[in-house]
Amino acid sequence: MLYENAIKVVYIDLASGKIEIKRRTDLNGFLGGVGVASKLLEETMRPELPPLASEQPMILGIGAISGIYPLITKTVAMFISPLTGEMGESYAGGRLALALSMAGYDAVVIHGKAPRPSYIAIDGGNIEIKDARTIWGMDSDVVGQFLRDHEEGSGKRSILRIGPAGEKLVKFASVCVDTYRHFGRLGLGAVMGSKQIKAIIVRGDKTTKIKDVKDYFRVYQTIFKAVTETDLMAKYHDLGTSINVEPINALGALPTKNLTANSFNGAEQISGEAFAENNLVRKMACTGCPVGCIHIGQFRRKFDDGYEYEAVSVGYDYELIYSLGSLLGINKTDKILHLIEAVEKTGMDAISTGVALAWATESLMKGFVTEAETLLPLAFGDSETYFQAIMYLANRENTFYHVLGEGTRFAGATIGGKDFALQVAGNEIPGYHTGYSNLVGLTVGARHSHLCNAGYAVDQSIKTFDENKAVDTLFHEEVERCLLNSLVICLFARKVYNRETVLRALNAAGYTLTDDELTAIAKRIYATKLRIKEKLEFDPRQVELPKRFFETASIHGTLDSSVAERMIKQYVEKCSILLTETI
């Protein structure tokens, strides 16, 4: 914790109800966030047991200076992913980081399984495991409404909850944080569901005297100015991430109709501009972020004869427009918002859901499955059918939807059609078919996300492709992001939080660290993650990449699998060297 020179970890055993708080000075070398959470995962995970075994931990972590500087607003969750079977790592914004910081905890380790549906209420003085039988089965948004009224602490709390999909252990179920943010990827919702935890409420009720107000506030103001008065962050506030739809489409990197194409002729109708003009009603921010990238879109829906309408508001972003838009051939903003509403209510990851449905659609077209199994005439562009399919998926309606709910890799391997199952190492792909750096980046990336090492950005920034250079860049970025994620900075602010700014921010809050020490911390964290992945028997060289990636052209032309394989091998060698280093 701030000014305490120790990492404060709370351990919650759901089976016995036992709570233990430890002040761990031995974790200081991991700084916080993903560093501390990785170490805690390594200590508490049970590699020999399945991901959803009750013994497996679920860990939440914040950083050393969370909540006190602009855009240091995220919380990391670590777990064993039920989707990939290996290391799970996911990030969410909202108010959670500030609430945890004000409750006085750096990390929360939850293990065991509650004997009945429960929710956890955490504050600085008390941690309670409470009865959730009445709210079990509820949609994610409704649970939030009830808990807001039932629990105290309005304005200084954060509420995490799962929807029905998490309860039913859909392997890519998400956790909703404060209505508009999520631990979306890799199935944390199923982990909570397996522990019979419907929700977690964190209340911040502590104060912390600032040691050096002058110095701290000077740094705060410099960062505040950089994020609000320069153009470093402007695109995130203005159109938001959806600004990317048209440029990515123009580059020929927008996965369309299950990546049978790399551009979408309806892209203009679902661009950031189109959403802004048709639907944008409001922008919001995570607590402590003056940028406000959360874009809320509204649409109205007729639900009965006459003038009977209801209004629906949901958040939208680039990845959702890709996965529930172009990938499914949907070219209307209202229809995409409609599908976002469905994943919100049921509590599933939007990317994985879109990819699963795109795969199901092609499988139906190709005869791998029949309409008797899909129960619906799934077809690209038909949003009403997809809406219903999302409900079936969350409800695990029949054998087919049950299999699909195990993830696209599993469905492809079980039913057939794995060549066009758009996943890498079990994780459904994000919306950038840019080239080798993206594909290799997803394969070697610790959590198989485009945010591990930003391969998609490497592909877009280089003119001529050099595989050695690309591997070096990916490795360097992956290590550097371990540092940013140990502080759990919003990665949109990565250009603001360069090394110099990070050091100044830390120093002004009482952490005397040097640049070399930050490098050592980053490497130490990455090495820990690599060890975890090794223990979970993950080897990127064994990842079978679906053929579709090598059939549909990327920005850098049609990709050759042997080049990707070579790059992955080379990357693994770099990892082996890191693991032999004494850090």
């Binding site: 304005g155 922008k283 003056p290 940028v291 508001s313």
Partner: protein, 135 residues
């Protein structure tokens, strides 16, 4: 003297930069609990944000009226100034304020009262908060 007004709360994004900087500058504290302005949601995050803050009462000033020790003094332009040395910690001002703009700090045993210093307005990215001349 100028007073703080929350004039454009429809535009609020809920970043709470106002609370963070108020607590920093006025209370030397990292916690938003120490802020004199409070941003709350009505009906959860899908509802609108409201700013709970001193309304800068001018002639009739309930919090100053109920103060038994003369610790809250009417401020030119509106609102009150707290004279810490005179405060006895009775919390009557807290209940007297109809909009709940005063809350009690059980660490310092003093009420947290808006000074209308305007630091929050400088860090409001959408200019929802502004310092204006008192009516």
């Amino acid at each position: 003297m100028k007073v703080l007004k929350a004039i454009g709360m429809n535009r609020c994004i809920g970043c709470l930069s106002c609370m963070i900087t108020c607590a920093t500058v006025n209370q030397s504290d990292h916690s938003i609990l120490k802020s004199a302005i409070s941003i709350k949601t009505t009906g959860g995050l899908s509802g609108k944000f409201v700013a709970i803050v001193c309304q800068a009462c001018k002639d009739d000033v309930p919090c100053a009226e109920v103060c038994p020790s003369g610790a809250l003094i009417k401020r030119p332009g509106g609102g009150v100034s707290l004279v810490k040395e005179k405060c006895v910690g009775c919390e009557r001002c807290v209940t007297a304020c109809t909009v709940d703009a005063i809350h009690f700090d059980y660490v310092s045993l003093l009420p947290i009262v808006c000074k209308h210093c305007g630091v929050c307005t400088r860090f409001c990215p959408h200019k929802c908060l502004q310092l204006t001349e008192g009516a």
